[in-house]
Symmetry: C2
Subunit: 427 residues, 2 copies
């Protein structure tokens, strides 16, 4: 890697926009920015009318579901899950499927400027393997359910798999492990408590779904006499090291509880709309003190891993719902997709371009037809940019995409494998 | 142009998906599809793992505002208009600005598979000129206001300009003209009536804004003692040849009125969310009988002319608002962005691939990373595709983009002009 200086029209450094400077990188670490560069030991990457920005951290995904992209659209959630997704998973899921599907997802992430995913799925060893092989960061979650699946027999067995994961990746600098009790309707309070103990024992994070649908809230109240948020609070999840995905069906009192605990929340606006789950009250959650982050959810329900579009949906929906266009401005939404996510996932030295942080960033062309003219580069990222505008991606100082070409992925092979599995799933 | 046969994995012909066939084009007209082709007089375009689809018709735009893309985001409508957009327009607008900005918009439309825009603006001669020069279709509207602008002194003067437009483009097969009274709060009932007479006399369409904001409805009730829809009904606009943009703030009775008149409606979901104007009740309007179409509005409020994203927003928002994921399925939304729009704009032989229609279509790669795997190509268009997946665009038999390269536009010049005007606007 060595010493690299990237010259670009815009550099978003220390959360501020700088113009016509060099970003200095030493191996995997950001050294600083400078206006002039006389030190000849730097390799220079000249990117002209482009911008260097922190790359995205997708705070809630199910990467291997990328092979189910578009398998079953326009269907009710129950039918979607029970008649399409679960049967496909039960038929297809194994280590090979998971590895190949994650590589497809990794390619999609790289081309759209995402350098880390907070994932929840099964056969997770191969998710971590795939991400690490291509050079992406990941918080790789091992799923936990009350009932048996192809993957494990019972809660202890699920947790045993996660111990294996921790062991497997203990010296991988890109991969962290989390424990993922699925949701309050598939995991008992007792098993949630086991996950909390496990998370403390192994110093890893908990990642779970919360209040995604009205059905879930009604069901949990029926079972336990209290809402999912209050149940989680009682179990201790709100005081644990946890990130919650969705968090839609909550009332004002619950917003206050989540805010006061500074809960980490992964908003999945596109997926929630497409499955007609509902609308996150993101503005109220933010004002109450929650740490909001942006996520795509899986490709089966999104149907992309495009964080540009996800930011745009998130910002616009909040403006619309609040009938106030000043709500959720571009800069704070971009921070949610980068800095807030790094904080939520305990990713030290990530999520921001600043001295001493890891050299994780994307370079975006401001010279493409859809990006012209340019008045405010940060608002262009949120409201205008498309994946095709990303030209280069670096993670931990390593270049994963250079001038729109993949460096660490054999894209022809990825496409062939996607078609091979496509045929198998359809048959 | 001559005889052309396009071979692709998918062809959406007669509103149905066909596989591994040839689409046959004779000069500017679609001849049919065939499985085998022995006739050697056809030039063959082999597109492999791609799809040929009707291209988009954007039913409400202000194309020259493309130069104001991102000029003023995250602002209240009043402030956005009065402190940013109107001053910029008043300073910048002239024939050169309008021509150059429309060419930028045209390039953006072509690269994202749009072959026609229903536009409303001023200095419209150069909008028509620009579209015609690059080979796009347009319904080019001349604006009408009660008050004077740089462009005209009074309503008769505005209408005179539109007569000039009609004369100018009377033998242009790509350009149609419309009369565009701006909105009920900027045009008096008397002037709306003049526009109706004008539209009948010249056999052209009326294009107007309707019920975009709550403020507008309150204001119109204050002025005239009735809502904008009821005012328009009384004036006769609902019985005239009209297309209405936005149509958000309406009640159930008004939905019934608009439905019974089969009103043509241009839904602008992204723009409405970004400006926090509100939510169109599209599902109710559809069920009542209105003819729904999809539009981006101008680049100043969107901030793109991306019809893929617009379909996706439209479909998802209706699912979310109705808490029903089966509402607005991919196929009907794709029809709104093509066939319904052609009907709304009286564009004969447009909006569908069928025998005898004009050869207007796009070719989309299903082989790109973000498009794999493929289960339902039409739902992929609505929920997955990006502009970068469009490889070829044909209008009236003429190729405007070939293998992702512009054929009729000097893209280097377009970029230089965008930067030139960008500098002028900022200064």
């Amino acid at each position: 890697m060595g010493k690299l200086a990237i010259k670009a029209k815009f550099i978003y450094y220390n959360n501020k926009l700088h113009q016509d400077k060099y970003l200095l990188v030493n191996n995997n670490i950001i050294e600083g920015i400078t206006e002039t560069l006389s030190d000849k030991t730097y390799e220079i990457l000249e990117r002209g009318n482009s911008g260097v920005f922190p790359a995205f951290i997708n705070s809630h995904t199910h990467l291997p579901m990328s092979y189910f992209r578009g398998l079953a659209d326009d269907l009710p959630l129950k039918n979607w899950l029970e008649e399409h997704i679960w049967p496909a998973e039960s038929k297809m899921l194994d280590e090979h499927f998971v590895y190949d599907a994650t590589i497809l997802a990794a390619a999609e992430m790289i081309r759209s400027g995402t350098i880390c995913a907070n994932d929840m799925y099964f056969f997770s060893k191969n998710i971590g393997r795939a991400l690490s092989d291509v050079g992406l960061r990941g918080v790789v979650g091992g799923g936990v359910l009350d009932f048996p699946t192809k993957f494990a027999k019972n809660s202890d067995d699920y947790l045993k798999r996660i111990e294996d994961l921790i062991e497997e990746f203990k010296s991988d600098e890109l991969i962290k492990i989390s424990v993922c009790p699925h949701a309050p309707y598939t995991v008992s309070p007792e098993n949630y408590r086991k996950c909390i103990d496990f998370s403390i024992r192994h110093k890893i994070q908990i990642h779970t779904h919360l209040a995604e649908t009205k059905w879930e809230v009604d069901e949990i109240i029926k079972r336990y006499g209290k809402s999912p948020v209050k149940l989680f609070d009682e179990i201790g999840l709100l005081d644990a090291n946890t990130i919650f995905a969705h968090v839609i069906w909550i009332d004002d009192e619950e917003i206050e509880i989540l805010g006061s605990k500074k809960a980490n929340i992964a908003a999945c606006v596109k997926s929630n709309l497409k499955l007609a789950s509902g609308f996150i009250k993101a503005n109220k959650l933010k004002e109450a003190g929650a740490n909001l982050t942006i996520a795509t959810d899986g490709n089966a329900s999104n149907n992309s891993l495009n964080m540009f579009e996800e930011m745009s949906y998130f910002a616009k929906l909040q403006k619309g719902l609040n009938l106030d266009p000043t709500v959720m401005n571009a800069e704070e939404v971009f921070n949610m997709a980068t800095k807030n996510a790094a904080k939520a996932l305990n990713l030290d030295k990530c999520g921001e371009l600043k001295k001493g942080n890891y050299a994780d960033f994307m370079i975006i062309s401001f010279d493409d037809i859809n990006m012209l003219p340019v008045y405010n580069p940060v608002s262009h990222l949120v409201y205008t940019a498309e994946p095709s505008n990303v030209t280069d991606v670096f993670v931990n100082g390593k270049c994963l995409m250079k001038n729109r070409e993949f460096v660490t992925i054999d894209i022809k092979e990825v496409k062939e494998k996607a078609k091979y599995w496509n045929k198998k799933i359809r048959s």
